[in-house]
Every structure is written in structure tokens, then in C-alpha cells.
Symmetry: D2
Subunit: 334 residues, 4 copies
Amino acid sequence: MVPIGIVGFSGYSGAELVSLLARHPHAEPVLLEHREAAEHPRPLGYEGPRRLPCSADSVRSAGLAAVFLATPPEVSMELAGPMLNAGAKVIDLSGAFRLGSAENYQHWYKEPHTQPQLLNEAVYGLPEFCRARVAAARLISNPGCYPTAANLAIKPLLEAGAIAREFGIVCDAKSGVSGAGRKASLKTSFCEVTENFSAYSMFDHRHVPEVLRTSGLEEGEFSFTAQLIPIHRGILETIYFRATEQLSSAEDLLAIYHGRYASEPFVRLYSSGQVPDVQAVAHTNFCDIGFKYDSKTRRAVVVSVIDNLGKGAAGQAIQNMNLALGYPETAGLL
Amino acid sequence: MVPIGIVGFSGYSGAELVSLLARHPHAEPVLLEHREAAEHPRPLGYEGPRRLPCSADSVRSAGLAAVFLATPPEVSMELAGPMLNAGAKVIDLSGAFRLGSAENYQHWYKEPHTQPQLLNEAVYGLPEFCRARVAAARLISNPGCYPTAANLAIKPLLEAGAIAREFGIVCDAKSGVSGAGRKASLKTSFCEVTENFSAYSMFDHRHVPEVLRTSGLEEGEFSFTAQLIPIHRGILETIYFRATEQLSSAEDLLAIYHGRYASEPFVRLYSSGQVPDVQAVAHTNFCDIGFKYDSKTRRAVVVSVIDNLGKGAAGQAIQNMNLALGYPETAGLL
Amino acid sequence: MVPIGIVGFSGYSGAELVSLLARHPHAEPVLLEHREAAEHPRPLGYEGPRRLPCSADSVRSAGLAAVFLATPPEVSMELAGPMLNAGAKVIDLSGAFRLGSAENYQHWYKEPHTQPQLLNEAVYGLPEFCRARVAAARLISNPGCYPTAANLAIKPLLEAGAIAREFGIVCDAKSGVSGAGRKASLKTSFCEVTENFSAYSMFDHRHVPEVLRTSGLEEGEFSFTAQLIPIHRGILETIYFRATEQLSSAEDLLAIYHGRYASEPFVRLYSSGQVPDVQAVAHTNFCDIGFKYDSKTRRAVVVSVIDNLGKGAAGQAIQNMNLALGYPETAGLL
Amino acid sequence: MVPIGIVGFSGYSGAELVSLLARHPHAEPVLLEHREAAEHPRPLGYEGPRRLPCSADSVRSAGLAAVFLATPPEVSMELAGPMLNAGAKVIDLSGAFRLGSAENYQHWYKEPHTQPQLLNEAVYGLPEFCRARVAAARLISNPGCYPTAANLAIKPLLEAGAIAREFGIVCDAKSGVSGAGRKASLKTSFCEVTENFSAYSMFDHRHVPEVLRTSGLEEGEFSFTAQLIPIHRGILETIYFRATEQLSSAEDLLAIYHGRYASEPFVRLYSSGQVPDVQAVAHTNFCDIGFKYDSKTRRAVVVSVIDNLGKGAAGQAIQNMNLALGYPETAGLL
């Protein structure tokens, strides 16, 4: 079994990585301790995976083939270089290396990028659209949860010229609370969230530039609102657009998706008019896509769902690791 | 205290009516028994309001000034006439009298309208836009929950010419589960709803024609999806549109709303960029409206929230009753 | 309207006090600002109650007849004396003045009591058992949520000699999350609580000595566990004991409760074998009590429910204020 | 892969069986169609396991080594005989064969037992206490969810003489809603359960006689209440008793458990004073046990948690299948 490091293992994405690696046929988790949040009590005799200090030395001495950074962007920027230099491939789950330029990062994350020299090398790990580059990468930037669900739904249609971009695309996004990370916070405390539903970011979410960069859309063409569902995990995005004359029927729309995703292991499609719910993908690495199309008025609505800790974070990170280390892409994920 | 009848008092809207009337300064509830669902056990000595059989005789003998029909449309069609003939004003919470014509009803409700002669008389009870007609009505058709939140958000902007209709309006609507009524159903059972979020109606919800009829929009201009939040009560609608050149700033948008609603007791506005959540209106008759406007791209998003059992059903029904019986409009509602 | 001060108005109990006072027929809330937690955004034009700095001067200048301290015990100890000296009655919702002696306080709260001279004066405000003393008090110590539900269920039976104390009483208590207060905390964050249920205090909860002091039980006779339900508000306690020969039937048990509570406005009883749930008392000041008794084996189980923010905190505090200021006991609470 | 039949696969326990078998190293699921409830929409191309009519012929033609009956007891009674005769081992998840005699069944299930001749043959499948008999059985009666958590917590202590039975044992049990099965029902509808907590069975739950039969306790010694938590899955039981002089310390209590369970793969223990919560065992086949003991007063509280669909139903059923078919006991369960 190949040892793989995890920094940030006490967070939600980190814990999901530990759990996925524990069942992986070729890899095993090693916990790299770095300012951990409180952990749950453990049963007697169940110690969990090996623990090491979070350092380049640990990477070398344990021979870690890869290291996951399930950490805030400022920590990822600090750790990525040393981990790479110690010989590990690095898969970063933060936004540190997603936006392509230090200027873009500073604009959306409101702090300077401390490792601009790594930005060129970082490969954006959305395997369905850049599989070969991921396989060859040393530093993989794991996509954000919202952009994953959005881009998988939008990109095939944009490429096929099926969306009338001048009318704009609306992406109304909803996420479970684990998307905010595991930390003490009044906004995500139980009583503030239960029996509630709220919009917390309109037009200006950090994930917007990720969608634009990957899809090629202009800012004015993409209206995005992020909202909080009182559930632990799961994302549902409801995406609205006007179709071009390319789409004369729902069958056309399904054919575009089918042509793009027929052999993809982690994207699933539904019959026209039938849409997936959050439970359809809970605890999986699938992105499920359904839609409805009104050919008379050319209005289309697409529903795209993922588990934000699965395809939206840890699952996709394992998928990227599989590609980067030469394992079967679905290993440990089905 | 003036006695007011309630048919369907064991449902969620019906129970809310009972509770609101029990605190009303001028009216008191009388329960009209008509195939009730199971009721909760009662403490000893807490019998609740007076009960009578659901009949025209009961209306006459008890001298009911008004009767609420918190019943399915087919029951409302059956009961409205006899109750009116017995001398009561009737406030119907179903969709039976909302769509203006028997054809329209049959198209959306998939069954014939049995009382077409009452359709002309029925007044659509959205007080903010037809207060005088409600005050004079015998038969009031209480608006649907989704259309209430949508029309209150959209109509002032449409009237002011602020929406570029050719780009279409998207209304992404989410509702708590009580909107589905109180009944045994697998779809609304706890385990199917908790830790889930689902779209259940895209473009073809029965509430769409209500919005069109009240707002004057064409079907092709209005894209509506209804979705289920795992909460008991509350509706949040996220509404997207492109603004016309009328709106050069967020202040313009707020000014339109303010001009229309400044003296409305049940519509509340927020500063530009600040939006209400579902809890802001829980257990109230308020509709709260916030928005964000990007003047550079003319994209706007409006968030409109109500309690689906408050302004979306029982609360608005009491507001209509207050108007129809000559009480202060806010009696029992603040 | 008589002005009443509230310290800690941004917490859950404090906000409930504000809301109850806003509907009170004789009193109105005044917010005393003292290190407030974040508040929710307000609609334009809805400013809320008057605000003053939290000081003895404010009490005097505004002529506050009473001040609620919805604050941690160390803050209550600091503020109670100055507020009393400024002429207000003080109703403290913390544990600062509940345990009768500085030693007892230090033992259970793990810090010294800074105002021992006030302990003698403080009256424990469980109106059903000390109505007259509350009416005459300057300083009222509002009971804890768990002890309120427990004592109301147990005391009548103990007084009647119906409980075989040598077998012990088990009180298995469950509370909604608002009982932990409004603050940033990992333990009460949404993802840690939803789809979970946990015991957090076995035998050693700070509320145990309150039950012992009020009921006269010995520590070894009372086994108490506190547990967290994934709901916002509500407490249910399941209480088990063996009956003495006094109880030959369920009717005997009901008769004891009925004899004690028949004229109490806020305690409600159920038929033998029928028990209330948390929803029965949500958003009310009621304590509902039901039970089952197996006369063959003398085993009894009593279910006692309250809203932890109602009869368990703010509701009971208003009830105590009504008594202390000479208003009808139920004013603003039905 | 050995084919295994599942009747009732659209229910919660049945679906869990399908999912566990799909990941099992030696077995694969075959769906036996028998009056199924509504199923969720499936993605295109994801057909799921093979389906056959529910009949003895299907068992023979497909060569099913075992059949799970995730059905109501009356259906299990009808199907068990034919399935056994067709050569399959039968693992029944209902209460049909748990109580040992037709009289006992009729008393608690309020209907006659139609297959009394099978009762003698049925082996109660709690592997920790009857592993050898399970391995040799043709017909295995899978334990109820509540009795599994209760017996695993109580039996070692009773066997060691550590419980003072004359004081009685209190078992305060709480379950997620999936324990009620997948069906349309008002009582388990979302709005009746969310923000609620309720006791639904005091002393007279059908699972009581299972605990008595397995533990050897008398009815008067065991007080059991079942309660509903607003979560999908999980059981937590809080168990109170007085210890005999055998237990002079918490270490003694832990030693008894450790002696009994040290080599059990699915029972986990915690340090004295530390107790597991429902999440500790979610989606697993573990039973986690923690406790607190007050040696001064001899009061003990034990917290026992399982996933009601895991160790409480499908997980334990797979464990029993593994034993009965000669697979490693943990196959497909870790």
C-alpha cells in the first residue's frame, strides 16, 4: 500500500479523504498534524491511521507519494512548495491555485498570493475536461464544489453552441453546511441554520471566477447565487438558460450530454424531464445531471447535483490522485 | 367576538387560521368538521374552539360572518356556494377560484371546474394590489404561496418598466414541506426529505399561471422551478432579471420598491446588498424583500421571503378577512 | 407601558424576552447594551425597541421597573447588585443565584461566588411552588430549564409519598440546541448536531443540585442524563420510578397531579397513557405532563415537556415579572 | 459471486442490504419483486441488480444461497417456508420468528402466528451470543434494532452479576425515523417529526419481550420507552441501573465489558466517562458502548449506540449471512 499524506484531516474534507483512503485498494492514509481542530473521541483500540508531524521530513521519511492539502488557501500556499520539493505530488483542495494569476487571486481572495511561481505549474483537476494534464501534473488544484457542479452541467452545452449566451445563464446554487468547513462559527451554528434557508453570496462568490475561467463565459453572462440548505452535505444547482436554434428538442439536449459523458465513470444522466435530488449522489463521487426543456419558448433548466465532500472535494481529489499516480481512475470510489 | 368558520382546521393552514383567530381582537374561530385528518392529543380541560358540522345550517345558526375554506380545490368548489348562500363571506385558500376561467382551471388542475358561475365574482386577494376590491368582495380567492412572494417582488418593477422582459425572469423558488399539506405521503415522509433537497416542478407548477395572470407576464418570459427545503415552513424565492436603462443604480431599484411599499404594513425592505432569510419572516405575515444589483452588467437578483403558512396562506387570509369585514387590516397579525 | 430592561438581548433567551415583552399588555422592552453577539440584519424602518447602555444610570433615567439578566452567571453576579440599588427588580436567568450558598455554587460552577450577600435575598422563581415569595422578591432567580420540567413532574408525587425513593428516580433529559446559548462553538455547529444525538452530561450536570434543592431528593436518589436533540427549542424529560403502595392505579397518579395543578395556568395534564411531545408546548409557557403506570409492577414513567426558551427561560421569567410587579400572572403569555 | 435474494428491497433495510451486498466480496444481490413501494428515479444506464419475481422457482433457477426477508412479519411468515424448501437459507428481518412461541407472538403482535412449526427451527441471530448456532441455522431470525443495542449493553453485566436486578433496569431508547419503515404515514411525515421529539411506546413495545427472552430479565425488572429522534438513522439507548457489590469501580465495569468483547469485531468500548454518539456508528455495523459509574452511590449509566439500519438490521443480517454461508464474519462490513 502506498502511503499518502493528509493535512487538515480533522476538517470535513480531510476526514472524508481519510475515510476514502482507508478503503482504497492501493493507497493508505497518513495523518500530517498541523493545527488540528478538536477530534471526536475514539473507541478503545481503534487508533486510526499513522500520524506524523506536518513537514517535508515526514514526506521523505515516510515516502509519501502524494499529499492532500485540505487546508485554507494561506496554509496551502505555505505548504505546497516544501511538499513538492520533498518529492510528493500535491493535491490542494483550497482555492490557492485555481485562478491562474496572482492578480486574480488577490482580487477574489482579498490577500496577496505568496507563491505566484507555482501558479503556472498548477493543473486544474476537473478530470472530465483535462484528464491528460492531471495525469502528468505535480501540483493539482482541486476544483471548488460549486464550479464542479456548474462546469460539468454547462461546458458541454457551451461547446456545442446550444446556449444563447446573450440572454445570460443563471446558476442558482444551494449547498449543505459542511461546505463552510469544520469550525466554530455563529453563522453555521445549529440554531441559526435549522428551519432556515438563506442566500449568502450574490454575484460575488469566490467560485464565480473559477466557472468563468473554465467555461469561457464572461462575468456579465453568468449570474450566480450561493445559498445554504439545512443539511450536512450535498449541492444542488438549478441552471437556467435560453437555447439557440441548435436545440429543437429535449432529445437534442440529452444527445449533447450523452455524446460528452457516455464513457465518463462519474457523470450520470437522467431521462428528459427527470431530475436528480441531493440524496442521489450522497456519499458518492457522482455528478448527476437532469433537465427540462421547453422547445416552444427555448427555455431550459438543468439540475446538477454532487456531494460537496465527494465530487465537490475529497472524492474528486482521490480521482485526481488516481490519475496522477497511475491507478485506475475509479479505484476506491465506487 | 364575531364567529368565523374554518373548514379544514386539522391541516397546516387550517390550524394556523385557528391559532391566529384565537388571538384576534374581534373574531373567534368555529371549527366546521369535514373529513378531518388525525388531530393531536389534547391536554385535559383544553377543549379548543367550538365545533359544528360543516353545513350551511351551521353557518346560519352560529351566525358566521365568514368561512375559511382550507381545503382541496374540489372541496372548495363544493362548499363555496352553499356557504355564500348561507350569508357568510367566503375566503378560499385553494386554487379553485384563482385562475379566472374554467378553461384555465381545467388546463392546470386537470379536472373540470364545477362552479364556473362563481369565477367572475371571486376576487384575488393580494391586498397590496387590490385592497378595495377585496373589501367589497363576497368570495375571496386567497393567493397561492409561491405567487404571493413572486408577485410582491416583481410587480412594482414591471410597473416601473425596470425589467428587460425580453431576457426573461427566472424565479427559483424553495419551500418548506408544510406547503404540501398535512397528509400521509411517501414523498413528504421524514426520511425522504431530511438531508435532501429536490426540485419537483420545473416550468409547469400550478402557481405559474397565477403569477402570469397577476403580473401580466407571458409564459415564455417567466421560468419557475419549485423546490423542497427540509424545513417545516417558509418560502424563499431568488429572482433574476436584466434591468432596463431605467435602473442606473441600486438606489433606483430600492426607490421603486420604497415608492410602492412605504406604507404597506406587511412588506418590508432591506438595504441594497442585504437580503432576508426564511427566519426573518417565520410565524409572521410579512413579505421581506432584499436585492443586489450590478449596474455594470444590469444583472439583478431579488430575494423574497414569506412564511408559506403566514403571508403565503393563513396570515394573508386573515388580512383579507380583516378587509372584508371592516376590521383594521393588521388586526391579529402583528 | 412600564419599561423593562433586558441585558443579553441578542442571545436566544434574551431575544425571546424582547419578543414576549413586545406583545405584553403592560410592559415594554428596553435593550441594555452589554457586549452583544452579532445581530440579524433589520428591515428598513424597523428599528426595534429603545436601546440604552447597560448601567445603573440607565435604570434610573429610564425608570425601569425590572431588569432581566439573560447573561452568563459571572455577568449576572456583576450586574445584579447595581441594578437592585438603582431601584429595579432583578430577574436573573443564569445559575448565579439558584443554589443557595456560595459553597454549593463554587462546587458546581467551578468559580467563586462574588456576591454571596445576595444569595439569601434571592427567591427561586418556580411560581407553582413559591408564588407568594416571588411576588414579594426584589431579586428573583429564574429556574434552569431542566429543573423546571423535572420539579414540576416530581414534586407533587414526592409530596404525596407516591414515589418509592429507595429505588431511585431516573430522569432522562433531552434538550434542543438553543439551551446551549447563542455563540460560536464547534459542538453546537450544524454539521456536528444534525443527524446526531448525544449524551453530554451524566450525573454531573449543574442543574442536578437545583432539582435536589427544590425536591428534597438526595443525590443518590436521582440519576440525571442530559442529551442533545437536533432541534432548535424544546425539552422532553422521561422520568422513571417505582411507586409506593399509595398508588394502586393510574387514576391515583392522575388524581395527585390534578389535585396539585387543577388551577395552575401553565401546567397541563393528559389522560393516563397519553403523553405530550415537544411540539405540544413549542413557543408557549406551558409545562405538559403525561404518564403511564403499570400497577402490577409499580413501574411508572412520566413525560414532562417544556419549551426551554418558554417555561424553561423567558416565559417563566415573564411569569415571575408579572408576579413581582403585580400584573396578572398570565399577562402576555397566552 | 454467490447470488443472494432480497425481498423488500425498496424499503430502508432492504435498500441497505442491496447496497451492502453490492460491495460484498463473495456475494451479489438479486432483487425479488414483491409489492414494492415506489422507487427513486435511476440514472440512464444504471439499471441496478438483476430482478426476479419473488417465488420459490426464482430461488431455484437463480441458485440463491440465501434470501433476506426485509418484509412485515405477516409476509415473512408467508414466504419463509417456500424459500427454505427451495433450498435457500432464510434470514428474516421481521419480528415473525423472534419470540419463540406462537402464544408470545400473538400476545405482542396482535395476530395469530401462521407458521408455528418454523419457530423451533429459527435461530435468534445475535452473533455475539450465539455464533455457533447461527452458523448451523437454516432459518435465522435477525434481532430487532432496540434489543440489539440493549442486549449487547446489558447481557455481559447480568452474566457477571454486576446489576442489582431488584432495583430494576431503565432503558430509555431513541431511534431515527427509518426504524418505522418506508411508507406513507402521517406520523412519520416530515412536518410532524422535524423540530419535535416524542415518546411513542412506554413499557409495551414489541421489542421488550425480545430483550427479556435474550437477557433473562423479568418484565417488572425492565422499563423501556421508545422515542423518536428527528434524524434518518441511528439508535441511542441510555441504560440506568444500580450495581451490586461486585462493582467497586468504573474499572471493574470496563473490565467486564472488555472480557466479553475484546475479540468481537463489531462491539467497541470507550474509556470510563466517555460515551459514543449516534454519528460514531452511522453507516457501520458497530455497536459502541460507553458508561459512567458513580461508585459512591452505585448508580451506573450505559450509553449504547448502533445504526438501526446497520447493526440494527441490514448490517447484522449480512453478519449472520456471513456466518451461515461460511464467509469471514466481517466480509463486506468494514
